[in-house]
Amino acid sequence: MSKAKTRNKRSKFAVGDKAKETIENLTEDNPVLLMFKEYTRTLDEKHDRYERIVKLGRDITIESKRIIFLLHSTNADLESKRMQVVEEAEKRLKTVIDTNLKAIAFELKDQDSYQYHKAYTCGLQEFIEASTFCSYVKEEYVKDWNTMNSLLQYKTEEGEEFALVFPQVDYILGLGDFTGELMRRCLNTLGVGNVGECFKLCNFVRHINTGFLGLMAPGYKELSRKAYVLRQSLEKMELVCYNIQIRGSEIPKHMLLSVIESSDLNENDDEGFY
């Protein structure tokens, strides 16, 4: 400190003097600073909105994962229990649509949604996954994009209409995740000896895989990553079906699972539940 001072005295000048002088002379009404204060406001507003949407999106992810977990509990149970679970899942999905997703749509009402798309795409995909899984468990079909999109139309109290911007690519990515759940379900049903269900699930995933293979979508990296995971899930399921076919008569059905698991497969590296 003192050394620097003496040197300053001796040479009279130092690097940065000019900048220091300028900054010291800046006043509150300096036009540059006033301009930047304005920019700060705009920038903060954007960042705050982004963070709020990220939070809402995270809540959607968590709730969706819980709903998926709930739906997995249906495989072993009786028909009446299954419907009961599906009903609860549907109710919770509806709540997500009417609260969190609506809140995001409201935040983006007069904005360019694509600017904030990264903030909610994960939540949205997870929601699609849960929602398609729910309709599959219920009736063995999945809703297409149009149907899903129509769920995300809202009205304000004054009757003004607004909607969540829901890019189709999010739907397809969600669908890709959904096949992971079908694989899990396939292994679970095998565990309880429901062999017919395994073939059905495998067939369903096979169709989705065919769809993915037919896509020409350069520029979507996520898509090819999903297609890769999907293929692995499918191969796992096809192996299950193969084993059922070939050893079905040798071993009791409920033991098949352990045979399959030991014969290959480093078990589920899919993301876990909450």
């Binding site: 000048f13 000019k18 900048a19 705009t42």
Partner: protein, 236 residues
């Protein structure tokens, strides 16, 4: 409703259509960007004259020329306005973000050379021709990025103006960039590309300060005009 056999027809075919139409839009935008990037390169080339022109008239001519070339840029953005769908600026802005940033710094350089002041965002938007449009606008972060690029160009300009014997210019630049720096310090930047670019501003500041220091210890540029150029004002 999608049963297994309907999956392709109901889900993947519409999605492929969606992807195709997006690709078409992108292709069109890419074509327009070529029309914007051409004048952009020209303006960059024209303005390089400041680094070696001894004659002030040459600089004036270059500025006029650059301003004229901006006319082509504005035409390009007019086309873009027609191509970008409403409310989807940020879906496609990867295509023009970089060029826009460069153009911002060029517009800012022109205004600095003309008046020695910091350009405002509105002025920049009107020079680029993206003001008063509904589908495209000037993104604040792109504009700020342009200002940071300007600082690098000015650092070089400071060095070269000394070579050309102009000892006042570095002082003016130093003053200008110091204020710019103070302005940027007011922003709450997230950990994004703008933040990283801002972190590099200090090297430009340092370079300019070293030039000023070299001039000061030798007493160059002290007598001619003692700190009259110290107030930097903003356009409009």
């Amino acid at each position: 409703m999608c049963t297994p056999t309907r999956i392709i027809a109901d889900i993947f075919t519409p999605f492929q259509d969606y992807v195709n139409s997006e690709q078409e839009t992108r292709e069109e935008i890419r074509k327009i960007m070529k029309d914007i990037e051409k004048p952009l390169r020209e303006i960059i080339t024209i303005l390089q004259v400041i680094h070696h022109a001894k004659d002030i008239e040459q600089v004036h001519a270059a500025i006029l020329n650059a301003r004229k070339t901006f006319e082509e840029v504005r035409k390009g953005y007019d086309m873009l306005e027609k191509t970008v769908p409403p409310g989807q600026y940020y879906r496609y802005n990867d295509h023009w973000r970089f060029a826009t940033q460069r153009l911002c710094s060029l517009a800012a350089l022109i205004v600095f050379l003309e008046k020695g002041i910091l350009i405002s965002k509105d002025t920049t938007a009107s020079i680029l021709g993206v003001d008063n449009k509904s589908n495209i606008h000037l993104d604040l972060e792109d504009f700020l990025m342009g200002l940071l690029n300007l600082a690098s160009e000015l650092a070089r300009y400071a060095v070269n103006s000394v070579t050309l014997g102009d000892y006042q210019k570095p002082l003016q630049i130093s003053n200008f960039v110091a204020q710019l720096n103070a302005g940027f310090r007011l922003l709450n930047l997230k950990n994004d590309s703008l933040r990283k670019r801002f972190d590099a501003l200090k090297y430009d500041v340092k370079k300019i300060e070293e030039v000023v220091y070299d001039l000061s210890i030798r007493g160059f540029g002290q007598n001619q005009a003692p700190s009259t150029s110290s107030e930097v004002t903003v356009a409009e």
